[in-house]
Symmetry: C2
Subunit: 251 residues, 2 copies
DNA sequence: GAGTGTGTTGCGTATTGTGCAACATGTTGT
DNA sequence: ACAACATGTTGCACAATACGCAACACACTC
């Protein structure tokens, strides 16, 4: 069903370019004629999945997308339940708390709660991070068996800083360490000067997994001691894990 | 582009049925063969717009939908900005505060903040309400000229209570009254025993319009005097209207 | 006012989406 | 336990329809 696949590609493009698409963009990236791109977007807009700004003629997300997402959040209602406990964790650590899920080899950020410190690193919900570089990604990958992890990555791992792991073997080794340690670490592997720790939680009934992480800039840790943050995150894991029936955190 | 239109219809169906679809459902409602429905859903799932539960084989919203919705919320960032002031309004009135936008002849609920009273009427974000019966709907419709409103409705208006307006002419009359009054009222026209008042706000730069409403059960108003609620809502309109540059509320 | 970039229609052709059938699997009923 | 039914997923031939090519309309730029 190629036309539908093209339509979905256009939607992905819309996400990547940050929410606004022109007919020409779709035409170029999908390598189809402008006429085709025009009709494609018009069809999507007809049902409300996307909508065209009558002034700029640009296409953006529509209300149907919001409604669909609402259905997703119902499935992942842990996300809503986590809100208050994430706020408490942010208050306690004074740093940004993240929540994300795995999508292929990327982590999709579903929610962020900014800490109280003036300077905070955070992205908007919906953004994606490379799973092998983000703490949340490592935490979620560590739930999977090695062969499945291998199949997710093709070729060398893309690096965003000098610390980023660049081989799958190094990643697998790091993940086995993560399993033993109980939480994942990203030490400037995604952003320079930013460290993050993360744990993964699995809802017993639906089997859905999420990751929660705390990120903090190195300069904010005067003594370089991040044990308090780790303890706070692990405490969060025990509390929230018990609530959603996670097997690894409730024993 | 009929195949894409069918795909979008399937997504609408997914929203209406509450988030989970089976191949048979799509086959029946779109009146296509099961094979077609299967391939259609598989194509949508390929890009991550929807995803199939490997156990139940049911299709639900995917992560791409969440990312698209994030783009929508960026466009309507008034919604995020409104959060705190909505909470204040809910605290002050003790009743549920709603925020919604118009989509055709329906209002899509984007956010609700529940009041402090024990019993509260609220729906989840993403739900749709008939615009001619909801206070938010009337507030948003009152921004449009009569001919455009007529074109939105076809045939008699669907009634959900005995108070629901059932003719377009009656609706237009009510809307002209709404314009004079400055705020919209739904007196048990959507739910029995529930009243709601609403105002519409338009962001100056992007031209996007939202409605904010307060709903309250009749039995919660001992003396039947809802003037305090109206005053609180109008005060909200002046404060928030100024912030987003609404022309009608800032003069 | 010529020139460029853009989005949206007709129209003929070939790609591709369609129903039919068959198969695999899971569920119900007796 | 087996039959009967419902459901999801593949080949395959045929017809529907999505495609590119133009041409047009419109907005900007120089």
């Amino acid at each position: 069903m190629k036309s539908i696949e093209k339509a979905v590609s256009a939607l992905q493009l819309m996400v990547e370019t940050g929410g606004e698409l022109r007919v020409g963009d779709v035409s170029r990236h999908l390598k189809v004629n402008r006429s085709t791109a025009s009709r494609l977007l018009a069809s999507l807009a007809g049902g409300g999945l996307i909508e065209q700004d009558p002034l700029t003629q640009r296409y953006g997300a529509g209300i149907l997308a919001v409604q669909l997402a609402a259905g997703f959040h119902r499935k992942f209602d842990i996300v809503e339940q986590a809100q208050r406990e994430m706020e408490a964790l942010a208050r306690e650590t004074q740093h940004t708390v993240w929540l994300g899920v795995l999508s292929g080899a990327e982590v999709v950020v579903l929610k962020t709660v900014r800490g109280s410190q003036p300077i905070q690193f955070a992205v908007e919900p919906g953004h994606r991070l490379p799973a092998h570089a983000a703490a949340m990604g490592k935490a979620l990958l560590s739930l999977k068996p090695d062969p499945e992890i291998r199949s997710l990555f093709e070729g060398p791992l893309q690096a965003t800083t000098k610390q980023t792991l660049h081989s799958i073997d190094a990643l697998l080794q790091e993940l086995s360490l993560t399993r033993l340690r109980g939480y994942a670490i990203s030490d400037q592997e995604l952003f320079d000067g930013v460290k993050a720790i993360s744990i993964a939680l699995t809802e017993r009934h639906k089997g859905t997994s999420i990751a929660v992480s705390v990120s903090y800039p190195l300069f904010a840790l005067a003594d370089g001691n991040d044990q308090p943050i780790i303890d706070a995150l692990l405490a969060f894991g025990r509390h929230f894990g018990a609530r959603i029936g996670d097997a690894r955190w409730t024993r």
